[in-house]
Symmetry: D2
Subunit: 141 residues, 4 copies
């Protein structure tokens, strides 16, 4: 598919996780510190008002931010979400959604990242997340 | 099912929303200002580490908090999530999860609620949410 | 002043910090996991609208939460705020303000606490904070 | 001092507020949607560890974000902080601190802004804030 080792690694992780693969997201692009995801909102993701549920956008933002932290730490380490914040700016309708996660800082124990959730040029939501970065003792990371 | 008009109203809303009904959550209990949801994490909700994804817990917290705001406003009004925050305290494994949403304050335009996400007695996460409460012009509420 | 070693320790810390002593807050009560602060808003703390600035309430909440984490960790360890969140519910006028900080969970590296900011019985704001808890290498705590 | 009406307006507001003028901050620059503040941390702002207290940085971020919202709304309207979030990335020592607030979106009732807190080129903290934007009935706004 790709010769890029970062992109390849993230795609393998997504494919190996039952939740992520079932959710239907794709890793469109990745480099050190930044990850871009694609996802398509269908009729089954809409609430009573015909809008994509905010929890779905939170999920996408958390995945994009977590993977962006992933690109910034050594392979043998593990990242876990400590705290997640979302600000919803505009309603999201059905169709393609793009999410860009960006690392702001990764230290020895804590990482901080932010995310944009977009539909075309419209900024739907901004996310922020704090991640604990630890040695992966179990090897299952 | 029930004679309780608050509980009945919330269950109808959940059933009428494609997203909520597909997500598989149930409204276990509801009173003015408080809503308790039940949900079951299966193998398909687990990530690479065998844990429930934080985005799923954020979705459950947002639904519980939004419905708790719902119980505190007039039927003709509409609530929309402006901001959502999650603090993850303990890892969530497969099995039954309970989420309790509680209104802290609802004003004429803004509501604020909090949530506990539990597995048995273990507090998995705490959520907080700010909601815009507006007149429902469309009638689709 | 007091025979309570927790209360005594927190009061010494406040007195030894130029910022905290200048800010004029007092530790009214403390036990393992909970700290209650008192503070008085004077004319100099009011903004153009005659209200206490939200940054002052954030400061009080952060101090109360940080000290509540302090009561739950070993003396030789250090706590640093990673993330702070405030929800403002009602306007704060001049007069006495009380802030209660409560630990929700302290792990080996991360602590999470919440705070109530009160004026009499009125809940003015709710705070939440994530703290990094580390070994104090410098001895300056 | 300046011919810029936005900058002039913000400086007048700061000067007229007991809290803001006592805090010692200055409005260095302002345009539609962005405000840059300057502030100097002295010995009296340091905690036991010799670092600037996070509540002070939260105050600066809230002021910068609130003023950036101010530049984006009509003069007769009023902004009030509903929710404030801070992520602390690096410790702040004594000396000059710069804070840039930026509006991300202002709607008819709600505004959302973000802030960078800097010491030279070092990003100390990131802030986010939600503001209620209402008609100023009292004329005191």
């Amino acid at each position: 598919m790709t010769d890029d080792p970062i992109l390849e690694d993230l795609r393998k992780r997504i494919a190996a996780s039952p939740f992520h693969s079932g959710f239907g997201l794709s890793v469109e692009d990745a480099s050190a510190g930044t990850v871009r995801l694609g996802w398509r909102a269908g009729p089954e993701h809409l609430n009573l008002q015909g809008l994509v549920h905010g929890g779905v956008l939170a999920t996408l933002a958390d995945v994009a931010m977590g993977l962006s932290v992933r690109t910034s730490i050594e392979p043998g380490r593990r990242h876990v979400t400590i705290e997640l914040g979302m600000h919803y700016l505009r309603p999201a309708g059905p169709g393609d959604i793009e999410v860009v996660g960006r690392v702001i800082r990764v230290g020895s124990q804590i990482g901080y990242a932010e995310a944009d959730v977009l539909q075309g040029k419209r900024l739907l939501a901004r996310g922020s997340g704090t991640y604990s970065v630890t040695a992966d003792r179990s090897g299952s990371g």
